[in-house]
């Protein structure tokens, strides 16, 4: 993946006695699409603002290409930001917004002209040069904000929930476009979002955060299939999380039922969290599966049905393409490979 472009070492950040970031260690590689994922208030935006230079870490260091960033003002950093609410300059038109950074670099007007045109083409807004910001739709403003940032050819593009204000259809389209843009331009993207689907779709690496700490760093598939703890499992996609007891290696007991699994390395009778994805549960006729229950609700979701199965008070969330009627007795089966055992956190 190339060398480390940005490196966080033991970074902490406090705002008026509130710890926003706690001992963050993280490296971001060249040409990587890295997503900081977490609920609001987990410190992901603060992390981004530290890279941009709008905040200084309270302690710890941030290095950019091996050099310490401490004390380097925002305007001298080789990064550009796409802001959540775009922050386009309302008194300037589209052209002057995009050319703002180029004017500061004192480029010739011909060069500025060709760069602005090229980047407008890249974001599919050719011919919008003289439009005012107020006359653009949300999606168009979004593209101009991206154009204004990438026209400066930054080493790193920072994106702070750039799609949050767009509607679903537009958002999905932009996700693909952003990913393509990143590949085409060959620059590092650091992307902040609370939307796990967005993170899974676009990222090379996902950093899952919670209350100022990093929970897990990994590829989207690893994060989804091998979540490190119940929090990550719950945040990335839907999950059934249930307490269990690890009887011995490869055998876990939940709800008084012994289930075979593939996890090892736990103490005998250690209490654990068991995570099972809703799509990994098979619904069978009664007596054929391991756990019995009653279908409580069925919701049609397009590709599959989402069903809630009540089993002695625990509500299993199950995705299946076949539909079982509400009230019918069923039993559930999970393959050993699909049972994820996690230490209690």
């Amino acid at each position: 993946m190339g060398k480390h472009l940005i490196e966080f070492k033991n970074v902490c950040k406090t705002f008026d006695d509130t710890e926003v970031l706690k001992n963050i260690n993280l490296h971001i590689d060249e040409n990587e699409f890295l997503t900081l994922l977490g609920p609001s208030g987990c410190g992901k935006s603060t992390l981004l603002r530290i890279i941009a230079g709008f905040e200084e870490p309270t302690s710890g260091s941030v290095c950019f290409e091996g050099a310490d960033l401490c004390g380097v003002p925002a305007y001298e950093r080789k990064v550009n930001t796409v802001f959540q609410r775009y922050a386009l300059f309302p008194h300037l038109d589209v052209y002057d917004n995009i050319a703002f950074g180029l004017h500061i670099k004192k480029l010739g007007s011909k060069e500025i002209d060709s760069k602005v045109r090229r980047v407008l083409e890249l974001v599919n807004l050719k011919g919008f040069e003289r439009r005012t910001i107020g006359s653009l739709s949300g999606g168009q403003q979004q593209r101009i904000a991206i154009a204004r940032a990438i026209v400066n050819e930054p080493k790193v593009l920072l994106l702070d929930e750039p799609l949050a204000a767009l509607d679903l259809k537009l958002r999905q389209g932009m996700q693909l476009e952003l990913k393509n843009m990143q590949r085409e331009l060959g620059i590092t993207f650091v992307y902040v979002t609370h939307d796990q689907e967005e993170a899974l779709t676009m990222s090379d690496t996902i950093v899952v955060m919670k209350e100022g700490t990093i929970q897990q760093i990994g590829k989207p598939t690893d994060i989804y299939n091998e979540p490190k703890n119940a929090y990550v499992a719950d945040f990335i996609g839907e999950s059934n999380i249930i307490s269990g007891i690890m009887k011995h290696d490869c055998l876990v007991n939940i709800m008084d039922t012994d289930l075979e699994c593939v996890d090892t390395g736990f103490a005998p009778d250690e209490s654990v969290d068991v995570v099972i994805r809703p799509e990994d549960i098979y619904i069978l006729d009664p007596d054929k599966g391991k756990i019995t229950g009653v279908v409580e609700s069925v919701t049609f979701k397009g590709v599959h049905y989402e069903m809630v199965i009540d089993s002695n008070g625990f509500k299993w969330l199950v995705h299946d393409t076949a539909k079982y009627e509400v009230g019918s007795d069923v039993s559930l089966l999970v393959k050993p490979f699909d049972i994820h055992i996690m230490k209690k956190s």
């Binding site: 941009a52 305007y75 001298e76 930001t81 309302p90 008194h91 703002f100 500061i104 670099k105 940032a149």
Partner: protein
Amino acid sequence: MKKHFFKSFIENIYLFLMFLFLYFPIVILMIFSFNSIKSTSNWGGFSTRWYVQMFSDDALLGAFGTTITIAIIAALASCVIGTAAAIGIQGFRSKRLKGLINAVTNLPMVSSELVMGVSMMMLFLTVKIPLGYFTLLLAHITFCVPYVIVSVLPKLVQLDAGLYEAALDLGAKPFYAFRKVVLPEIKPGIISGMLIAFTLSIDDFVISFFTTGNGVNNLSIYIYSSVRRGVNPMYNALSTVMFILVAILLFIINKRSSSKTGDSPIGVLG
């Protein structure tokens, strides 16, 4: 239907009486400024002799010059100081500190001019600055600053804080970012504030009275001291000119603030 008519009739009468009491004296004054005789109660025919006399009175023109130069310098200076102060106030992270500073800046606007004038005079005497043009100017700048702050602050509150950061992010140094991004956004507030300051400075009598000296008079002080010696219809002419000048300025300010947003900074003038 009839009741509605009656109600609006009463309302209109009320409004008419209100404006009558407010403006009748001024209208009389304006009419008598064109009187050809010196009487303040008898009409002797139309003439512009008081206007001619006014423009040939050196002492009066001198006072007029003082008023105008003080108003211009005070407006510009208070506009710079007030804008900087507003930016500082907006920058406070602590809500309590912000509220406190706000209250302190608003205090001079609501406190009596007499208090302001006397206290400033005492200050100048204590620090041994001789009363004159300079102290008059300082006093005018001082009482204008809060009005500029009050008119700039709402613009700063509306301003997306991201704009300034976006400019820095694109490589702009802080002052360049301020000049290119923040200033254009808050300019309407600054100009309104400047016009208010200009108007207030032209109008002021009480504070000027206490803070000037050494023979430096502005118009209002000049008129006051002359009228004590005897009424001259020339002051009718002068008052007419000043009234119209201030009215035009107020009209411009109101038009500016109502065409931009609903929050009229002139509201504070009461």
